[in-house]
């Protein structure tokens, strides 16, 4: 392995920092954000409140920490749903290429792909009631076809290789070959795709929360903070700028990480780009 590309390192560092902040927020934030102190509202940046307080007197550093944690949690679970359902579907489709199963899985995926995901996500959360859980489901459903397609596309060429033939001669079932030989070989692809879907999930969560269909109070999320600060933008623009910046930096970090991983894990790409 040659020297790691700088984009990968920057992306990994940003992602790691957010992950640490989110973990810390589980056990400690500078202030309790459920404790509203209206007398303390809209404070400037100071030693006691590093980034000031919002219109309800909540400490902005604490709000950002908790908000980042919610956004990350929603995106992680949504990616998890997509992988848990999509990858087995894709593997099954590849293992039985050309069969009815393959056809049904891939056409079903085409259908979900054709849907304007945001519209349907809005619909789901609107009717089932806005909550972080429904936002996760709405985002997660659209991750399923993505992972199914990547898994199938990655698995198909592997099924033509000699060691698969050897495994089949040894009497292993298709399911076992998929799990033991195919899956480890497409792990790279899946990790890269997971990073990309993770960053799309952060953006989708922000959009849903912004229109009031994501996390509900007292839970905070970065999108929710934007929505709550919209009316304050004329007087206290920082309240809207900070959560937005937090989203941009995280998504940027994840995208850099995803691109970097793809280049690093696929030597052919590296040479072609070189």
């Amino acid at each position: 392995m040659t020297r790691l590309p700088p984009a990968l390192l920057i992306g990994a560092a940003i992602t790691l920092i957010y992950a640490i902040i989110a973990l810390i927020s589980l056990v400690w934030t500078p202030y309790d954000i459920t404790n509203l102190q209206v007398s303390n509202r809209l404070q400037d940046w100071s030693a006691t409140h590093w980034l000031g307080t919002d219109q309800l007197g909540r400490d902005m550093v604490s709000m950002l920490m908790e908000g980042a944690r919610t956004s990350i949690a929603v995106a992680i679970v949504a990616v998890g749903i997509g992988m848990a359902v999509g990858v087995p579907l894709g593997l099954a489709a590849a293992a039985n290429r050309g069969s009815l199963l393959d056809e049904v899985i891939m056409r079903g995926n085409d259908l979900i792909f054709a849907f304007p995901s945001l519209v349907i996500a809005i619909l789901i959360t609107a009717i089932w009631g806005p909550s972080a859980t429904n936002a996760i489901l709405a985002i997660g459903i659209f991750n399923i076809p993505v992972f199914a397609r990547v898994a199938r596309g990655g698995a198909l060429p592997i099924w033509t290789l000699d060691y698969i033939l050897a495994a089949r001669t040894a009497g292993k079932t298709r399911t076992r070959i998929s799990a033991e030989h195919v899956l480890p070989n497409i792990a790279n692809l899946l990790i890269v795709q997971a990073t990309i879907q993770f960053s799309l999930g952060i953006l989708a969560e922000a959009g849903l929360s912004y229109v009031g269909l994501g996390a509900q109070p007292p839970t905070s999320s970065l999108g929710r903070m934007l929505s709550e600060s919209q009316t304050m933008i004329y007087s206290d623009a920082w309240l809207a700028v900070l959560p937005g910046l937090a989203i941009v930096i995280l998504v940027l970090g994840l995208n850099l990480l995803g691109d970097g991983l793809r280049d690093a894990l696929d030597p052919r790409l590296r040479r072609a780009r070189g």
Partner: protein
């Protein structure tokens, strides 16, 4: 080609049928009784019974689904419960905001992305390319509604060049167009970033082809080779993405319209959601999904006409 068209048309119809079933199920089956949902907790039994009759909820699910679909096919989108007017009229009103906004954004995004992508590709590997790639990374990472808020902050609040929201109506074309400028920029930014990256990689890939080297060997200048040979071939994937982006823009306008208080389809859906006007939500959502699926279909067909290799599969 005919066979390809037929297969695609079949899958288009199938997509539409499945989409309509999903929307129907989400709205009319899952929440239990739609009439009770629409009237809220304090509704009397009589009011619910009346609304049930008005919405035609007496019939079976299949009957209701069929009557909804046949109504829509005949241009009858139902009657809004809160506005007391046909949903078709509401849509006809609002579409003249959403559609121009999407087209405006698409034009902006294309005008920005294609030259930027070409500059990046022709300067591959040097500082200009690096800067452009960095900016497009940023453009992809920015949530468009937050970018919209920043635009309002800068151009409406600080500089007072534009109004922060609202729509004066097409009776005054100048101000109407002006009120769409900031929303269109906000919508176009992420799309332009993606498009510029597609343009760049398509052109780079084309420039590596043998026929480009042949053209250069024949004595064509670099600029002429790019204009006459490379660009033409590189534009095919770019055009596909432009087509697909149109549907993203139409759907993405839902949130942007809410930032700028534009009376478009997106705001109509949201008002429908907050007022529990399921008839509006159901019909407008179906219309948006219909638009997206049809545009995707047209793009596929156009692509197959341009590139015969695609018809085979």
């Amino acid at each position: 080609m005919l066979r390809y068209l037929l297969i695609r048309a079949l899958s288009l119809s199938l997509s539409l049928v499945v989409a309509s079933i999903v929307i129907f199920a989400v709205i009319e089956v899952i929440p239990g009784d739609p009439a009770a949902f629409m009237l809220g907790l304090n509704a009397t039994e009589d009011a619910i019974a009346n609304l049930r009759a008005e919405l035609g909820l007496g019939g079976s699910l299949v009957e209701r689904y069929v009557s909804w679909i046949t109504g829509m096919l005949q241009g009858d989108f139902g009657t809004s419960y809160t506005y007391r007017v046909p949903v078709g009229e509401l849509i006809a009103d609002r579409i003249w905001v959403s559609l121009p906004l999407a087209i405006f954004a698409l034009i902006l995004s294309t005008l920005i992305a294609i030259p930027v992508g070409i500059i990046a590709a022709t300067n591959r590997g040097n500082g200009g390319d690096f800067a452009i790639m960095g900016l497009t990374q940023l453009g992809i990472a920015v949530p468009n509604f937050w970018f919209a808020m920043l635009l309002v902050l800068l151009f409406a609040v600080t500089l007072s060049w534009f109004s922060a929201g609202g729509f004066p109506g097409w009776d005054n074309p100048g101000p109407a167009l002006k009120s769409l400028v900031l929303p269109a920029i906000a919508l176009a930014l992420p799309q332009a970033s993606i498009l510029a990256r597609v343009m760049r990689s398509a052109l780079i890939e084309t420039l590596d082809q043998d026929y480009i080297r042949t053209a250069r060997a024949r004595g064509l200048s670099r600029g002429e080779t790019i204009r006459r040979h490379a660009l033409r071939n590189a534009l095919i994937p770019v055009l596909t993405i432009i087509g697909l982006q149109f549907s993203f823009l139409l759907a993405g306008a839902i949130i942007i319209e809410n930032v700028f208080f534009l009376p478009g389809l997106g705001r109509l859906v949201f008002q429908g959601i907050t007022q529990r006007d399921l008839v509006v939500v159901e019909s407008v959502t179906m219309l948006l999904v219909f638009a997206v699926i049809v545009v995707t279909f047209l793009v596929d067909i156009a692509y197959a006409i341009v590139d015969p290799r695609l018809r085979r599969k």
